[in-house]
Amino acid sequence: MKKVLLPILTMLAFSCSQPATNTETAAAAEASGAGQSAVKDDVSQQDVVHIAVNSPDHTTLVTALKTAEYVDVLSNAGPFTVFAPTNAAFDKLPAGTVESLLKPESKEALRNILEYHVYVGVLTENMLQDGMSLNQVNLDNVKIGKKDGKITVNGANVLGSARGSNGIVYIIDAVLLPPDKK
């Protein structure tokens, strides 16, 4: 487990956060009509979405979350365990796959893939056991491997982890593809 990633991610998260805007007057102030991801809060710990948003290695994932309209969902109270493939992980997919998934007509397929990366519940490293099966949000299972302190999910390597307010993010080096439906 590369612990170094955690502080880097955290630093990125803070450096990219919006400065406080205290100039707003009460008359002009209003809560955003957007969902929970738009709540202005520079005090609380970052949630799992903001961790991803503030990481330069996860721009493809964030684009996918936005396209699937899952940003607000993952800003919710959770609790979530999110397996977050890096940009390099997406690049390993066959050419044209990502572009195709981002098309409006692929929204359901994209959501299915993203939901396969999320578990409801916060599973810290010590709770993950070798051979453990996790039933993901899309109702398919992933398999956890844990050998010599190295964690894998469906064979993808966990590169690091970051704790968010509403869950935990595991950074992985491959995109998890749900099993084909029979």
């Binding site: 205290n22 007057t25 009460a26 008359a27 102030a29 209003e30 809560a31 955003s32 009509g33 709540v39 809060d41 005090v43 609380s44 710990q45 949630d47 919710n76 109270a77 959770g78 609790p79 409801v120 519940g121 916060v122 709770m127 307010s165 509403n166 869950g167």
Partner: protein, 664 residues
């Protein structure tokens, strides 16, 4: 006595007859008085914010509540003087000391008036003060956390009604007793010895400008009358305080009749700068007094109660020039200074006029010794010498007056159920609107400050009757919001309120909202029983006490399996909320506890005490819907017989019967 009684009956009949006539003039259909665009003026669209925080006393619920204006939406009830099972205030071990008094733990009180802190006469958004009318106390609420952070008891007081009104720079809040009471070493005296033994006291409570800390700076020993309400001077009258009095008859029974004998009671003018001079000169005397001072420590998340034993007093009958009486018609209630500080409005609640006194004239009368005599050794200024003028025939039963930023006053009339607008300088009546029904206090945003924000006046009514869907004999209290931006007052909203509101203040949201606390930082938590991580959780036995160091985070409690408790033990659940996320409290409750729940804010530690009364396994759980797995946030504690040898044991996530398949 008989003739007096007959006179009373006759005068009551006259009042009743006038009320009947008045009612005849009232609009028949309340709904029709609102105009077409009224709803849009009070409408705050989804996602938009109100313009003002409305801080409202809860009266007999002992709390403060926070509404938005102009919407009238209720945002929060802040527990102050009364236990609040909803969040554990007065039930948790940390909050119990906040309700300690010289009489021991007092679980309830009656909060009547709000004072918001001011700097240079204007709202600064730092603190809200409230008074306890029954067991005399004042409280301070921090406007960052909306939490009660200090409660100070008042000795030598029989009921703290004339409170917690505030001076121009928050130097002092005051506390005048509604009941004069016997004081000193021997208070076991006949009630009929009132004139000889009963005294009234006014406390001046200093406010620390840095942290808001309260301290009784001094008490004024005043004649045995009842103090009703008060306001500080401002601008030219800064340094003075004005108190309304009633029962200058010094009656001790059937005040309904016996405290209404005189045609005039007094406004008491206090030169508190003079009092400060006497204290500097060493003229104060230190008297024994027992009272509690309770302070909340935000780093330990715990209240600490200290019993104080003395208080500094001044006797204005001996130390001249501190207080003067001004005659004011018929049991004055409200005693309100206008934004310029030049005028003091007395509202004789049984009078058919409103006298307005001039600060400049009061000063001239004092300089010229224009006195009509003395009352209990205190000079009484001639009524005419202090009078700016009278508002003639304004309505029936004037109670309170607030001000706008254009030189106008708004007076509430209980008996005639209306608000009357009049000009402070000309004393001319400009407008009147009905209220539904029997208004008590009223509030203009910034109304008691040097620079009122104006825009609205809220009527806090005493009688609801048919305003809302009926709910049996007990009804919510009704409030009405009026637009006062034009020449005529316009009813724009009717909204229910909780408790029984008396006074309220409103402050622009921009002065409060940016400072609002979101979370308590976990690294700043100095609670002695805090667990600053799950690794620090444990269960410890100390004799018959079992201390559970527990954490809560989405979505489990650690530990969630506890054994080794024995009958006769007292169990203390010290729960630390490890969340660092805005609006994610966790709650905690255990089956059968003779106690409330506790709600623990992010980063806070709170303790629930439980004394099990039978053996068995008792469930506990998180009571605040925190996450999708909130319902899973639960655990068990086992209680064994007194002599058992079940050891202390605790865990989370440890599955002992794997072979049997549990947890698979």
């Amino acid at each position: 006595m008989k003739t007096i009684t007959i006179h009373r009956v006759l005068s009551i009949l006259v009042v009743l007859a006038t009320v009947v006539l008045w009612q005849g003039c009232k609009p028949k259909a309340p709904g029709s008085v609102t105009t077409g665009d009224a709803a849009s003026q009070a409408y705050v669209a989804p996602g938009k914010y109100d313009e003002f925080y409305n801080v409202v006393s809860g009266g007999f619920n002992g709390q403060m509540s926070i509404y938005g204006l102009p919407s009238g939406r209720l945002f929060r009830i802040i527990p102050v003087f009364s236990q609040f099972p909803e969040n554990g205030w007065g039930y948790s071990e940390e909050t119990k000391p906040m309700l300690n008094t010289s009489h021991g733990f007092v679980p309830w009180d009656d909060l009547h008036h709000i004072s918001l802190s001011v700097t240079k006469g204007e709202h600064d958004g730092r603190w809200a003060f409230g008074n306890a009318n029954n067991t005399p106390r004042v409280a301070r609420v921090d406007m960052k956390t909306f939490k009660t952070v200090e409660i100070l008891e008042l000795p030598n007081s029989g009921g703290n009604h004339s409170s917690p009104f505030i001076t121009e720079n928050s130097e002092y809040i005051v506390a005048g007793t509604r009941f004069s009471v016997p004081v000193g070493d021997n208070t076991d005296v006949p009630i009929s010895s009132f004139k000889e033994n009963f005294k009234g006291y006014i406390s001046f409570i200093s406010i620390d400008p840095a942290d808001g800390g309260m301290k009784i700076a001094f008490q004024l020993k005043t004649p045995g009358v009842s103090f009703d309400l008060a306001r500080a001077g401002k601008g030219p009258s800064h340094g003075w305080f004005f108190f309304s009095t009633y029962n200058t008859e010094q009656a001790y029974t059937l005040l309904e009749v016996n405290a209404s004998q005189k045609d005039k009671d007094f406004i008491m003018a206090v030169n508190w700068k003079k009092a400060e001079e006497y204290i500097k000169a060493g003229k104060g005397t230190t008297s024994k007094a027992k009272y509690a001072h309770n302070v909340w420590d935000e780093s330990t998340h715990t209240g600490v109660s200290t019993i104080m034993d003395e208080v500094l007093q001044l006797d204005p009958a001996e130390l001249k020039d501190i207080i003067y009486f001004i005659p004011c018609p018929k049991s004055p209630h409200g005693c309100d200074t206008d934004p310029t500080g030049q005028y003091i409005v007395g509202s004789g609640k049984l009078a058919a006029l409103i006298p307005v006194f001039s600060f400049a004239k009061i000063q001239a009368a004092i300089a010229n010794k224009d006195f009509e005599g003395e009352f209990a050794g205190i000079p009484v200024i001639k009524y005419e010498a202090a009078l700016h003028g009278e508002v003639k025939k304004p309505g029936l039963g004037p109670l309170h007056t607030e001000f706008d930023n254009n030189g106008n006053a708004y007076t509430s009339f209980f008996v005639s159920s209306e608000i009357v607008k009049w000009n402070v300088k000309t004393l001319e009546i400009l407008d009147r609107v009905p209220t539904y029904y029997s208004i008590g206090h009223l509030s203009v945003p910034g109304g008691p400050t040097s620079k009122p924000h104006g825009k609205y006046v809220v009527a806090y009514n005493k009688i609801t009757k048919d305003r809302y869907l009926p709910t049996g004999p007990e009804l919510t209290q009704s409030a009405q919001l009026y637009d006062i931006s034009g020449d005529k007052m316009k009813l724009i909203l009717d909204f229910p309120t909780t408790g029984e509101p008396h006074y309220a203040e409103s402050i622009p949201a921009s002065l409060v909202m940016p400072n609002s606390t979101k979370i308590y930082k976990i690294e700043d938590n100095k609670h002695p029983y805090a667990s600053l991580g799950e690794g620090m959780t444990k269960v410890e036995r100390k004799g018959k006490e079992v201390h559970v160091y527990m954490t809560a985070i989405r979505s489990h409690l650690t530990p969630d399996n506890i054994e080794g408790v024995k009958l006769g033990d007292e169990v203390f659940f010290h729960v630390t909320n490890l969340e660092q996320d805005w609006d994610v409290p966790h709650g905690f409750a255990v089956k059968g506890a003779n106690n409330a729940e506790i709600l623990i804010m992010p980063g806070e530690t709170s303790t629930l005490k439980w004394k099990p009364l039978s053996t068995g396994v008792f469930p506990f759980y998180c009571t605040d819907f925190c996450s999708a797995l909130h319902q899973e946030m639960q655990g068990y504690i086992r209680v064994s017989p007194a002599g058992s040898n079940v050891p202390i044991k605790f865990s989370t996530g440890k599955i002992e019967d794997q072979a049997g398949g549990a947890g698979q």
